[in-house]
Amino acid sequence: MTIRELFIDAEAADHPQTAAIRSRLAVPARVVPGPAALFEEVRAADDPAGRGKQVLFLTRNRGAFLKACPGTRHYTCCGYRILHVGSYCTMDCAYCILQAYFHPPLLQYYVNQEDMTRELEECFSTPVIQRIGTGEFTDSLIWEPWTNLSRGLVQRFAAQRRAVLELKTKSVNVAGLLDLDHRRKTILAWSLNTERVIREQERGTAALGARLRAAAAGAAAGYPLAFHFDPVVIYDGCEAEYREVAERLFAAIPPEQVVWISLGAFRFMPDLKALIQRRFPDSRIVYGEFITGLDGKARYFKPLRIQVLRSLARAIREFAPHCCVYLCMEDDEVWRHSLGFVPAERGGLPRMLDSAAARHCGVEEG
């Protein structure tokens, strides 16, 4: 979806970032005293989740930029930290949790990056390895056409040795990053899925081939890479199609440049179901065999998750036997039966990922 209007929080109106974005985004702009009226307008739209993708609100982040990943105690979390640069997305995936997560769902970009830099500097001074990503509340690279956000972040991370930045995307917006001296402290990451899932569920995202070409360009520029098979969707023939994606991935990318690959079976908050049914009436994604997980989310019946995750993990191992493959939000039983081990045997998932980051990106503790 394209942005049609720009709303500027009066408190952010004089910020140089605001001026820079205005000069690059040729849409009508309005300065507003605060978010209330805009929130109301988006809420009142027939399709708030769609309307929220057409208006961009430039504002200040009054909370923390760095946040802990919202894992739950029932399933193993990766211990990631989220860098909250903005929220929501211009692409439109049927399963996107952000449609239901924000009230209202609205594109927001935080211009007060001087505060973000301060928080990052503090974080860099902690003597432990940190894995930080911008792709949790938004797609990391949708902001590239109008901002220098990721360029700045890549450079900032290049200047330290304890933290890695993961930029996760379904876009191909990497051109502006390829010439940077990244020092392997930024991981370029793509969410991958089968052609069918991309076609039927991921409106406005880049095609699989385009994502892989962009990843190959990142690899050629020396970036460490990561891939996320998330959400893995179960349908007739899915295992063969996921295998094919793995095959295409490693035909395009040298396995030794891949830091990690995550696998996450489709799961969703119950509220999302009605929203998907309304916004994506042709999508069948919510009609799988779901149960209510221990965290209250709908999840595929466990034996089905195990079967598809095991088959995909096998395919990946076939092409990249030494790659760090992990599961997103699964318990030990699923780990054991799909990957053949549990995280505790390797020091826990955060430890596994820290080691992979140390190996590929040269980050170190102390």
């Binding site: 069948r284 009609y287 149960i291 096998r314 191992r317 699923v334 054991r336």
Partner: protein, 343 residues
């Protein structure tokens, strides 16, 4: 309201039955079609309340009294007492009179209420519901509620009939209204036949629509397929049994892997031969990893006896099979040897 004068001025006259256009149903509110009790009463006591008609060319149209006319016809009456409104009385006035005669005399059912509201709206000069008049006539005066009710009027006949007889609640009628008319009618027929409560209706609606979406087939095809037909045609099955069969079949089709696992677990649990006092419960939806075993006893002797059975239970191969096969969905017997998970 401006019709009081007209109404009072119209003294009852005998009107030839054949001069009344019984096909013009515009002002009809009632959904009742049973004539016998009314005909019997008229036969014994005469028509106590005259019809209300409006002059139309050489004859009359009915404003109120559709059933009374039909009953008199059935009794072979040639003339019938009626008050006659002049041609100049507006549709809006006639609508109010028709509604008033019905709504103020007895409680209207949902379909009659919907008709009354739709009639008020259709005859209003601006095409909008006159909310205050609706309230004065005993109809819902809230625009939102009225709009919901009026949508009933546009539903297929089978759904309306279900609402009328109380077999389909307004909430369900609205859900059915979102489906194709043929599918909505098929659901309505099924619900009326099975006499299900709202929650069960919702369960069946959701199972069928989700199966249709999952399998890429029309809803009607699932509803009228032989799988459900068989349950309805079984002469030995009463309504409750048929409903249970239908739900079971729909569940199996909607959640085949889950059903297989439930059945596999049951088969294995039976092999444990737990007997009295021991109960094995799996984690909910087989998602967690802990099974629980409940011991029920009333004396020390019973507890000691259970302890012995516990030892035997722990050695029972079916228990080990339950624990080992959980991740695969409880296939009661081990699968043939295949490739191992990657390590």
């Amino acid at each position: 309201m401006d019709f009081e004068g007209e109404w009072l001025a119209a003294a009852p006259l005998p009107v030839p039955v054949d001069a009344i256009d019984a096909e013009e149903l515009r002002f009809r509110i009632t959904t009742r079609s049973d004539l016998e009790p009314l005909a019997a009463s008229i036969g014994r006591l005469g028509l106590l309340q005259p019809l209300l008609l409006r002059a139309a060319g050489r004859g009359y149209t009915i404003v109120s009294g559709f059933r009374r006319l039909a009953a008199c016809r059935q009794l072979g009456r040639r003339e019938i007492p009626a008050r006659v409104l002049s041609l100049a009385v507006t549709d809006a006035c006639c609508a109010r009179l028709a509604i008033g005669e019905n709504a103020l005399a007895r409680p209207l059912n949902l379909i009659e209420t919907a008709r009354a509201l739709a009639l008020l709206t259709a005859t209003a000069p601006d095409g909008c519901l006159p909310v205050e008049d609706a309230g004065a006539l005993g109809l819902p005066a809230h625009a939102g509620v009225a709009a919901r009710l009026m949508r009933l009027e546009r539903l297929p006949a089978a759904v309306r009939e279900g609402v009328q007889e109380g077999a389909i609640a307004l909430a369900m009628a609205e859900e059915l209204g979102r489906l194709a008319p043929d599918a909505a009618s098929a659901f309505a027929r099924l619900f009326r036949r099975l006499g299900l409560g709202l929650n069960r209706q919702r369960e069946i609606l959701s199972l069928v629509t989700e199966i249709a979406a999952r399998e890429g087939r029309p809803v009607l095809e699932i509803l009228t397929g032989h799988e459900l037909e068989e349950c309805l045609l079984d002469p030995a099955a009463d309504r409750g049994h048929a409903a249970q069969q239908i739900r079971r079949r729909l569940h199996r089709r909607r959640f085949p892997a889950i059903r297989r696992a439930e059945e596999g677990f049951e088969t294995l649990r039976r092999r444990l031969d737990l007997g009295e006092g021991l109960q094995l419960t799996p984690p909910r939806d087989f998602e967690g990893t802990c099974f629980s075993l409940t011991l029920s006893f009333g004396s020390l002797e019973e507890l000691l006896e259970l302890r012995g059975r516990l030892d035997a239970l722990a050695r029972n191969p079916a228990l080990s099979r339950i624990l080992k096969s959980k991740a695969e969905g409880f296939a009661p017997d081990p699968p043939p040897a295949g490739p191992r998970p990657p390590s």
